[in-house]
Symmetry: C3
């Protein structure tokens, strides 16, 4: 019941089943789009060939070739060309990784040229990141441009999308944006949202403190809403990249809050972040033990029971199943038997 | 003005007055349904006769005979029978207590059988608890089934209802659920909501920490919304039942946040919780003194004034009245001159 | 690019531009209504002539002559008369200050008489404060009464308005109230919202603690929503006016959260609050240095770069611009080249 294989099977849920049925009409290679874990989401400026060439040595689940904030205005065109050349000739740098591209926001003059360049490549990225999404109109404009540019092409897999929440308005409308994003037309498939804390702070007029207490409401609302829609939720950047202890503290906190991953701006941050967003061996062991005890007590007719000093009933059992499923999904992410959505249980299994 | 008797009279508010007018057409024994305090809300597995028989010795305001998470799947039928027999023959065990029953969620196959069994009893429970309410449809299905089962019966009092918020979706729609719940058809009467933190955590994919900092947004949003509708708000379970210091800290915190009570899973938790959700003698004394000073200053024509080193104006006066009213309601809960709703003042008295 | 003068110019944004275009048809003296900083918002009971006469010596940006909670019921008429006489004959007491009047709530019987008295004065206050706004209807009633009373009068400037959020319902509907308030008819112009924490606590039934942890959700939601609409957001009162260390801690926290100012109930609180809501010289220096480094790197074609040990890209640049703009607006508030709205950047400058 709680082996890695069964856990992966448990990931199958009604919502994703429906999505799969629809999607299998569009993509030949997979009946079931795989679950793509993204614990560390690392940005690399699209204009920086030297940093791009080092990507293969970085163990981040997801690398984002950036056209947006990491690229100076006079380097936008160079970034597009470098990214396209990388996709065409150096796709192998991204083996085992989610190869993503972040285009500029639809409120800029740049995004259409970004998309035109990136989507003209023979080898597409796995995922597109769209920053500064403030309204459903932003999503629609982006989607119709992508669909137009990909017309007539046959894709092996859906093209995943991440949207960015980076303003007060976006946070205010987040549920509406999630719902709208889940209706993206094929071949697009919404995988999650990123919380852009520094743009959010600039928008609200906040001052960042090291413990980010001022962001508690925004981060916890963000994760509550995004995870309600079974989407991945990516936490804020820790910009003080020399402070690894601070990074670890904030990463562990983000995982506790329910985020599924975290943005990273330097390779030295990757290991700490990946570890924080993986269930620890101790927690996996706790979960296995709890599930074994649960089955035993169920057979004996006991509902609630005591395990390691705490009173356990169904909600804790579901949490333990989450731990096992997440752990399994992360270690088997190259297979295709995962789920479209981040693992989460809201109701007992039938 | 601030004696216990006057305080109870002050509980009468427009909203409850309207409800009373409607309700008095349906229930013979009381013109004014009484306020039912529920500081400690203790679950007892419906299948566990031994624990049920000990209920009389427990000082919890509210005891919930559970058909749901505390009962193993193969014991559901046994739990129904035990609960029904308890209601028929051992109702005296619950003297002075809110005798509640928690049925299974409408998303299960179990809830209709639960209701059919419990509502066939000659002596009804005071309150029904409905877990995992994710939509207004859940409320409607539950209500129409209860109304159908009680057709033709004459009730002395309204049948109170508590709904559970235990998922991201439920928290997202909480205001809508409150509003809808306040429109429950007679003889049902919504008394409040329970926050089911462990199911919520499983749904979002959170990891629980001992200080529950990860739940700050969810708990504070929950209490803000629920109390806006003048409903009781019941805080999360503290599952580490051997850690009484931790329980006390969290109980005091919950009372400060505005919760009116807390879920309890072991008799040893009851006293600490009941105390935390009662205004302390010191606070009652603070409130009495403040109200006396207020009346004196009003007569003398002073609006704001200093009391115990703080600047006092109307909002603090209202808080002091809350303290007196809550204290009075808890000590006079067996009388029928209380309010339908939890005490709260949002506007000065006329 | 980052001088005070340029910063003030940078304050011009699309939303305010539109407002300006509309407003310039109504007010003769200014093409651009100025930005009115309100770091400390100090209440003075309208019935207390002695305290009013001391106002000139207090360095608060904004002084509010109060008809509401600071005035005893039997002093309401006296307060109206004193305020009107003050406006007529002692307007010079308020030189360089925002001279405001808080009327009673529309749910009281008092507000119409308050308005009739205050608006009959030849010299109007700069700003009207309306407490306890729970619905859009409250706003409409207030607006139509003001418009009626001012009919036929020619105003030099718009009459600014602050609305108070002081209940759970108000917090629940805050976005709707902001949106509605932005549509106030001329000569009214919404400048912001005040968070009335003590009435909010009375409404929810909370107990205040010294660190106000129980208000984290309410304050952070309030500031997020209000600032999303580019309005000023005024933080709670610190009622323990003898504890200046506690006041400073809470003021700094409020500024970090994104509040633009704070309510004050005693002159001894003013300096600490004004300082906390002004960018410190050190932060202004940080911002100037960052913007210089940014321009240098942009010219050299670098997008992200390191500054003082942190990775900087566009969002941090926007935060630095906020600091410069706020500092400039506060020091040049008597000029008319500021903005209608509190400074905030959500998108890069063209």
């Amino acid at each position: 019941m709680h082996s890695a294989k069964n856990a992966a099977a448990m990931l199958t849920r009604t919502a994703s089943h429906t999505a799969r049925t629809v999607l299998s009409k569009f993509y030949s290679s997979v009946a079931t789009p795989r679950y793509v874990p993204r614990r560390a989401v690392m940005y690399v400026p699209g204009s920086d060939q030297r940093k791009i060439d080092k990507v293969a040595a970085v163990a981040a689940d997801c690398v984002v070739l950036d056209c947006e904030d990491g690229v100076a205005l006079n380097q936008k065109e160079a970034a597009r060309n470098t990214i396209r050349a990388t996709l065409e000739k150096k796709r192998s740098l991204f083996a085992g990784k989610d190869c993503s591209v972040r285009v500029n926001a639809v409120s800029s003059d740049l995004w259409k040229d970004d998309l035109a360049s990136v989507l003209a490549s023979q080898h597409l990225p796995t995922t597109l990141h769209l920053p500064k999404v403030d309204s459903t109109r932003d999503i629609d404009m982006f989607a119709s441009e992508v669909v137009r540019l990909l017309e007539g092409r046959h894709l092996e897999e859906p093209l995943r999308v991440f949207l960015f929440c980076e303003s007060g308005r976006s946070l205010l409308r987040l549920a509406e944006l999630c719902e709208h994003g889940l209706g993206l037309p094929p071949p697009l498939l919404l995988d999650g949202f990123v919380f852009g804390s520094d743009d959010y702070c600039a928008d609200i007029g906040m001052t960042r403190s090291s413990l980010a207490r001022e962001l508690l409401y925004a981060r916890q609302k963000f994760v509550s809403v995004v995870r309600s829609f079974r989407l991945q939720a990516i936490d804020l950047v820790y910009i003080d990249y020399k402070n690894l202890a601070g990074l670890e503290r904030q990463s562990v906190e983000g995982a506790e809050f329910g985020f599924t991953g975290k943005q990273v701006i330097h390779p030295c941050q990757v290991d700490i972040v990946q570890r924080a967003f993986s269930p620890s061996p101790k927690r996996v062991q706790w979960a296995r033990g709890l599930l074994e005890a649960y089955e035993k007590h169920q057979t004996q007719g006991a509902g609630a029971f005591t395990y390691q000093g705490s009173m356990i009933d169904m909600p804790l059992v579901l949490q333990a199943r989450n731990v096992i499923a997440t752990s399994a999904a992360q270690s088997s992410s190259t297979h295709t038997d995962g789920d479209l959505r981040a693992p989460s249980y809201s109701s007992p299994l039938a």
